[in-house]
Symmetry: D2
Subunit: 503 residues, 4 copies
């Protein structure tokens, strides 16, 4: 296992260790607290216009599984909350299309060729307007898709309805039970006369289900594209154990996705998350950031720019030296814990902030987590009788010591930016484009290019994702002349860097 | 009087021109749209715990003016929504005290001497927990106070109740009518056996009322302390017209207040306001900022730090040269209007963004105002039949052109940061401390130091306000030695700079 | 005396206190160490082509006062090193003209009107190519000029020769004795049939000489334009003492000049000065900057941007609060003196760094001064027997303690950026343009506008200087519409700000 | 072929393409212009005290090869300019030791064990005080060394003398002929009774010589450590051709070295190089930086911080997207070439700036190269009759067009920072420590760990180099607890990251 630095996993829930040994275990669903309290999904301007639908849960208590619904073409191969919401969902999808120019560009290029002709893709992701744009792009590229949700709370019902109306067999609604969750997945794969040959997964649950229930299905499957840190982890475990039976592509670690999910996104969301929860002023504040990976680098740069005085802790001497050269005092947490106004964890580690640290913080100190999971702050240690918890605002608790000292704990130690901020559509666009290209690559790769192993997205594809997003910034790329390409020993169309290049 | 650059007036509403000629005019209240749609006041962590009281308007439809209420000491010299909320309000005040160390330090120093002994202060400001800390500090310094609200919407009822319970005659509730508004002010000044000798005003309404109704009262009044851009403007008009009959202190233009209300506050609130309304990503975005005063400087610095590409427009060649040296392209708005993703006004001027500009913006362009008033963007020009307005979120409108182009207009062109963000308690603490010191100065000034004119806060007081806020940052000031003070020709305790010093 | 903060005086030498009481004192020239060790003047690219002339001192030992020289028109009303160098000097001037577009623009506008027609200007400044462009511009505007050097070392002989050749009576050479210095000044003012009516001074020596020797001359003099901190100080002393008998204009404190001489120039020259002397790396270094005025702000911003960790000391609480909000820890020098790698003074004060501090610094600590004078570091305290001085490079001394500890002292505590860096032509252009406009204003002002006092440059002129420099940056200023100007109560051509505006 | 991005090769000269095919070619030495005009080596404070030796070339015209010299122990197994300079060289070495704490720490740890006991190292690098510290550290670790210079101009004679005096067989002097160059190398390897078992090379010349003359020697050689881009390139060519017969370690691409040689070093040296050559002001200047690799990122960050307006060109869409997110307009060179004040190349490519671009630049535009080689600007195209070259300062040429337009060309298009700036000792310390650890690793690696291939420095060693440099910044690393290490699946002592981690 090699995921040691902190990275923001914007797509998958935080999975406990035991889940990675899932292949031959019975899962106990009622023990999965991680399905609860997920991030608030991206709320773009456009989506907010559907806030009126938040009341849709109240309209009808019947389970979608018990309803008889048909779309306007007469199909009932789907299961959503209410097919009648399709029109509203369609509008959401159309607006999202405007903000996802890369996928729209892919559709345009697909008018001639259909790189996914013949592909039968089963997908399991969050179901949002952005995902719908992805699914319909895959369709435009020639694929047939069936889809379930990777999370029981995150489905936008009207978007699911719009997909169903347009003919995509989608099985998903907001507020599924655990049983519903697996039932939906099963409905995607267990179909008469249709067998998937590609998997697009986010978290590994779909993959797990097929492994467990329909292992023979892998004979026809050309590959798995996996999005999340957790799902990737599971795949590497399978691979190590020699149990991976098709090629898998880890799109989580592509350069473009990593930089946007971590450095660029967190540079903004640390400020946003802190402001929305505490309305604090950053200028002059003393902050300690634990961990100087991409997430930590983003947090530090933003807070320094806003006039905070930032200290950094690190375990890795190379990252530590980077922190020094970037102008941050490298300290042990104990050295500054009494004086800081804010403590931010982004290590991917556990118990980085302990009860002992919390005891020594000054009154009013804000504690939050930007890292991979909710283990970084030892929140459990604060659940003791002598401490009083006071919920002062959504996602904000005051933990009060007997002497009156208050610690301001954000999101109960879960990811601040996912709990208290939103993910910009631009970031989701990069993710979706990466997924689409990975599917195309695996589906079209000549025999033998990929074996039963986990692969990173080919650099050329990574570059292509980036190039599709440059027009957003009216950015003009320079092209190599033949002479220059020869001098550099490069193909004019890339890839432009060796694999070990660090960007 | 020349206040021409943009400054953030965080305390007063945006007053139309005609209001400054108020001295001998009948006011037409139903024409005062400015009382409506005021900023959401500072919402500190602590205050948010009272969100539960937002329902208190529903409990009782009786006008406070028709109620009989007494506090626990039997006094009924007040008029608030519900005296029973006093306990909750007290808790809010206590929490605010923790965040306003400068006023608490003043109280401590007042244990020996009472610099406001004998002062009878009538005040008219927003009534919030922070104001309560100010009022009770003035009491601790020896003053008697009577208080009304300067805004019909901004009163926190429970805080008013707590003040009333503790014996402050306060006349204010949330949701006053215009008639209520002036009735409350009148109850503050028109008292048997009590006549004010100091005025603390925010917007000039209280001053206006006394001028109009009780001009003789000015014989005993030692001075006016005025907080807002608008109120200061009115005082300068009075002074020019030879009608100002007592000294007045313009605390709006003190160095410390200006820097915090404008540069430091806006550096943070531009990001906050944009994020909360649009969830946009700043990196790579092209932004034009109109005006490079303190507000513009703050906006530009913040957006540049977040990776935006920032253009600046200016009319003043000195500010323009500063923009150049700070690394911003100085352009005319027309040159970049087609390409930018965001337009931000902070000029204090009118019609900076015209319909013609709006017509030329690209699809999705965000338009907002950080300047002094809501005149900067010609919003009225967008109210034409061919354009469709769509409210997509609170404070966010899409204005849609016939060809489908959408402009994202924030807060209908009113101040973004007051409409869509909050003012940190720290900034309010600086304002309140400045007000307290100005009152002390005017009240204690020897005969003749101040004439019937408008004065800036003495530099030494300005420095004192700053020094009271340094402990927040654990900042350690260096003291001059006798030898050094002599060398510099300075008093060791300041003032340290000539009046024309620019900071 | 009120100039208390540190400012970079790029034009005048550091004058001891006693000099300001010069009006009725005999001066002891052999006590003027300040004439020695002056800054290396601006060395623009163009000037460097004359490096070959550095050997010109060797060619001829005869004093210019003993030489008979004539220019090509037969005039001998000048005294320079060697009139034959005129051609080379002319080339220097021509190149400087290219970099001083503002003065060239003034010349162009003067083709119609001659605002200085009839002006007889006596000047005493550094004599460089940039000054020559100024002098010839004054001529083009209609003035007659006579000129001497304000410094015995700074004259560029070939430039003086070029001026003499073109008909300007200039009296100046590199390496004057003190006696030569005053003789040259006297030759400028003590002329048959010519009496100056304007003075342009840099340091106050010329003004002093006229006061002392030819007080009657002031009857015809319309005004003094003074450039330097020291000269301005002297004028304020005269004014206070009631001895100033003509209007004087303090051009040192104009906004544009101040910002460029201090903030913008030092932001770059602190890095340049440190690099050229020590080749050190800035990243990760701990630095303490004493003083957070404009110079300190520039130094701090630059070093922070290069990855240094910067601490600030201050005596003024307002500047201290600014340092906090800009993200610097405010400390007393003692708190960090043991740990820092660099100590930089910019206070304008004396003995800011004492022997005690120096004793406690760590091995290799670099100490330098960016402030107003050489008093900030107590260099004298290092001249004790137990310490060894080792000159390791030009302007760099190692001071070695008995235990082997070395302190790296730069420029012996004199101004680092003037000793070890250069002043960009752009900054000199702003200064020269400001001087020219001040002369025009004083010369053309209607009777009574200026009294026998010291004035700041009118804001409108300050703005004009700025506007003349905007084309350098291809910067496009916005003009007010009539309607906007009326709304703001401004003249469309400025001034745009009240006098107390802080920029 | 893998070197596509620009990196600063601070240690090797710029090698023409043909050199990489050296293995079986006769070399024509008189065609090697690259030996000429090399960078000025690091000039630390301490070294500058030896400026007096710059005259040593004049003292003695005899070739060192013709001299009979012995050190104080009677050995004559060396060839240096003048053994009598040993004392001065020793002082230089001692001062360098103070600035290279990492190597000194290695010596201390070697007091118990001698990881290089039995190692016979032949080295070919620049011979400077810093190299001497490396060589003597290798000796302290147990190795026997013989050394030659990798460059005919860069040897510090007094340092070579000090090494010879202390018993190191060193063959090197400043101003060698090409024949001398190879003679010296041969004297290192062609020794009776001594055969090297390790090679430390910088540029590949030593390796080349052994390949050509003594191929049998490789039987005993355990490995090659190569420092330079060029040498590494040659090794990869050998490896591809199947001719590499021992393991080789590419220390050029270690994380720590790369970041310091490129990002951190160039962030400072771009400013330094421009200032020292042109004295220009950065504020407000328009700059285009070609290439956004590590070097470009450093240049852009520095200039942006100084107030320049920076445009970027790129061929790689990923780097292009990074430039966008970091706030730079991505353009094609043609789009901005008419308006920019400075053009900086850092691509590693050729003809990035063509004559056509140069023709279109505006008057006064500065052109320089920070990239890998001198091919980026097509300087040859400027050698045409209609253009006049004027050398205005060392390393600064004005190229003058017929219409008078001047382009300011720095260092004739060679690397600006190596030609016009210096390399800080701290950077050299990182390089030397990396070399030492690579030698230890290769020498002690168990049979089979390394094959006949080119390897990157093991991550753990890379981390170790970083950790040895943390004390310089008083930086305190955090250690993992056992529990945390287990949670992360890491060894407590590292390595802490997977190989593909990008930092």
């Amino acid at each position: 296992m090699e995921r040691t630095e902190s990275t923001q996993d914007t797509t998958a829930f935080n999975m406990p260790d035991w889940m990675i040994q899932f292949a031959d275990q019975k899962r106990e669903f009622n023990k999965r607290p991680t399905k609860i309290g997920r991030r608030s999904l991206s709320r773009s301007i456009s989506q907010s216009s559907t806030d009126s639908y938040s009341s849709d849960s109240s309209d009808d208590e019947t389970s979608p599984r018990d309803k008889q619904q048909k779309n306007s073409k007469g199909s009932s191969d789907f299961c959503v909350k209410n097919i009648k919401q399709a029109e509203f969902g369609r509008r959401e999808i159309e607006i999202a299309e405007q903000e996802m120019p890369a996928l729209m560009a892919l559709r345009k290029r697909a008018q001639g060729e259909k790189p996914l002709a013949g592909a039968k893709i089963v997908g399991c992701t969050h179901i949002t307007a952005q995902t719908a744009v992805l699914i319909e792009t895959l369709g435009a590229l020639g694929a047939q898709c069936r889809w379930a949700a990777c999370n029981i709370y995150s489905t936008l019902n009207e978007v699911a309805a719009a997909l169903a109306e347009s003919g995509v067999p989608v099985f998903s609604w907001k507020g599924e039970s655990e049983d519903d969750f697996w039932w939906c997945i099963d409905r995607c794969v267990n179909v008469e006369g249709w067998q998937p040959n590609m998997i697009l997964d986010d978290g590994g649950d779909l993959t797990h289900w097929i492994y467990k229930k329909y292992p023979n299905m892998f004979k026809k499957i050309k590959g798995i594209v996996e999005e999340s840190v957790t799902g990737v982890h599971r795949l590497y475990q399978l691979s190590k154990a020699g149990k991976l039976c098709v090629p898998a592509m880890n799109v989580n670690d592509s350069v473009t996705k990593q930089k946007f999910d971590n450095l660029y996104c967190c540079r903004e969301s640390i400020l946003d998350g802190l402001k929305r929860t505490t309305d604090m002023m950053f200028g002059g504040k003393q902050v300690v950031v634990c961990g100087y990976g991409e997430v930590g680098k983003g947090c530090c740069a933003a807070l320094k720019a806003m006039g905070s005085i930032v200290y950094v802790t690190e375990i890795d001497p190379i990252c530590a030296l980077q922190a020094c050269m970037d102008g941050f005092r490298l300290v042990k947490l104990n050295e500054v814990i009494r004086q800081v106004d804010i403590v931010i964890t982004c290590t991917g580690n556990k118990n980085v902030v302990t009860r002992e640290h919390l005891d020594r913080m000054k009154n009013g100190c804000i504690v939050c987590n930007m890292g991979h999971s909710n283990t970084e702050i030892d929140v459990a240690s604060l659940r003791t009788p002598e401490l009083t918890w006071e919920r002062v605002r959504s996602q904000v608790d005051h933990v009060i010591w007997p002497d009156g000292k208050r610690i301001v704990l954000l999101a109960e130690g879960r990811l601040l930016n996912l709990s208290c901020s939103t993910v910009p559509t631009f970031v989701l666009s990069i993710t979706a484009t990466t997924q689409a290209l990975a599917l195309i690559e695996l589906y079209n790769a000549p025999e033998g290019r990929y074996k039963q192993d986990v692969y990173l997205l080919p650099k050329k594809m990574d570059e292509y994702v980036a190039s599709l997003h440059l027009p957003t910034f009216d950015a003009h790329l320079t092209e190599l002349s033949d002479e220059q390409a020869k001098y550099l020993g490069l193909n004019k169309n890339g890839p432009f860097k060796p694999n070990y290049y660090r960007y």
